[in-house]
């Protein structure tokens, strides 16, 4: 349950970006959360809604794009989506794999009132 700590970091970033643009109100926020990011999207949403009171994002909506865990086999070059966290290529059995997506925890974009 470190989602609240992550939301606290998100707000540091949001306030910094809003200040750069001279905005005093954030309308919406969109995150990318990978399957292997170690956080639970619905807890992030609850933490955001709790944290936003009395901030420049008090009316803001949050949207989360869940990013699948996508792996590429370095031996046979096959790419695959993984749900089971078994890092073995189902085609050639190689364990030499590269993670393409699924570890992100990003502020993708935000909408500001100017």
């Amino acid at each position: 349950m470190h989602e609240l700590s992550i939301i606290a970091s998100l707000f540091e970033l949001l306030e910094e970006k809003a200040a750069e643009k001279g905005s005093k109100k954030i309308i919406s926020v969109r995150l990318q959360v990978g399957k292997l990011s170690g956080v639970v999207p619905e807890f992030l949403i609850s933490a955001f809604d709790m944290y936003k009171k009395n901030t420049i994002a008090h009316d803001a909506k949050i949207e989360i794009e869940e990013v699948p865990l996508k792996i590429q086999c370095k031996t046979c070059t096959k790419t695959m989506i993984k749900d089971d966290f078994v890092f073995i290529c189902p085609d050639c059995g190689s364990q030499d794999l590269k993670t393409l997506t699924g570890t992100e925890l990003l502020l993708e974009k935000m909408e500001l009132e100017l």
Partner: protein, 223 residues
């Protein structure tokens, strides 16, 4: 009222990663190998550190940063072994963050060989936070059960070492070591695996050899 959408694409843990990489760079330059220990509460992190201290103390200088939600108990146990230890009391937070290590930075003696960081007992949250370590170890104790690697994949995918602890209990418990290790290696084929019992002093020497050789590589890179 005007609206404007801006594309950011910045890592929410970016500031933690930045602090962690500064810590790693500075400690590495001093020839200090930093090791982050993660596990569930009660897996035996502090007892393992007590045993490691006994083995390392005659030849090497080590120190320990202890992370706990409350109490100074773990740091006191380490100090009782004659090893410098700092206690970070998180007051509720379920993990350590790089900035907490950064606050202690000026107190860390520059002539250390090894710095161990014992994370808050939790197999979930600590996995998301780089603390500036060179080696990350996840401990799994026999009484926890052999099904943990797949249940807590992030702790195992982000670690360099898996230390199975309390192996002296294997004859008494329905713990399938083969299954646990196989599943851990499926999640992370690069894991170095160590079977240990702090109580019986088993496997500790192999683990320490690994730390010593990794530190030697670090010194060679520095040279």
């Amino acid at each position: 009222m005007k609206k404007k959408e801006i594309l950011v694409l910045e890592d929410l843990l970016g500031s933690n990663k930045k602090i962690a990489s500064d810590i790693r760079e500075q400690l590495t330059q001093k020839g200090i190998l930093t090791i982050n220990l993660m596990s569930s509460p009660g897996a035996g992190k502090t007892t393992l550190l007590e045993r490691i201290a006994e083995h390392l103390k005659p030849k090497y200088r080590m120190a320990v940063i202890e992370g706990d939600i409350e109490t100074e108990r773990d740091a006191e146990r380490i100090r009782a072994k004659g090893i410098p230890a700092w206690q970070i009391i998180t007051g509720g937070a379920c993990h350590l963050e790089a900035k907490m290590i950064g606050k202690l930075f000026s107190e860390i003696p520059p002539d250390l060989d090894f710095l161990f960081i014992e994370n808050v007992g939790n197999l979930v949250c600590p996995a998301s936070y780089d603390l500036g370590e060179n080696i990350r170890c996840v401990l799994l104790s026999v009484p926890e059960g052999d099904d943990k690697p797949k249940k807590y994949p992030k702790a195992f995918t982000t670690s360099d070492c898996l230390i199975l602890t309390k192996t002296d209990l294997l004859p008494l418990m329905p713990f399938d070591s083969e299954r646990a290790l196989k599943e851990a290696q499926e999640i992370n084929p690069k894991l170095h695996i160590f079977l240990t019992s702090s109580l019986k002093d088993l496997g500790i020497e192999e683990l320490i050899e690994f730390f010593i050789s990794t530190r030697q590589k670090l010194l060679n890179q520095n040279a």
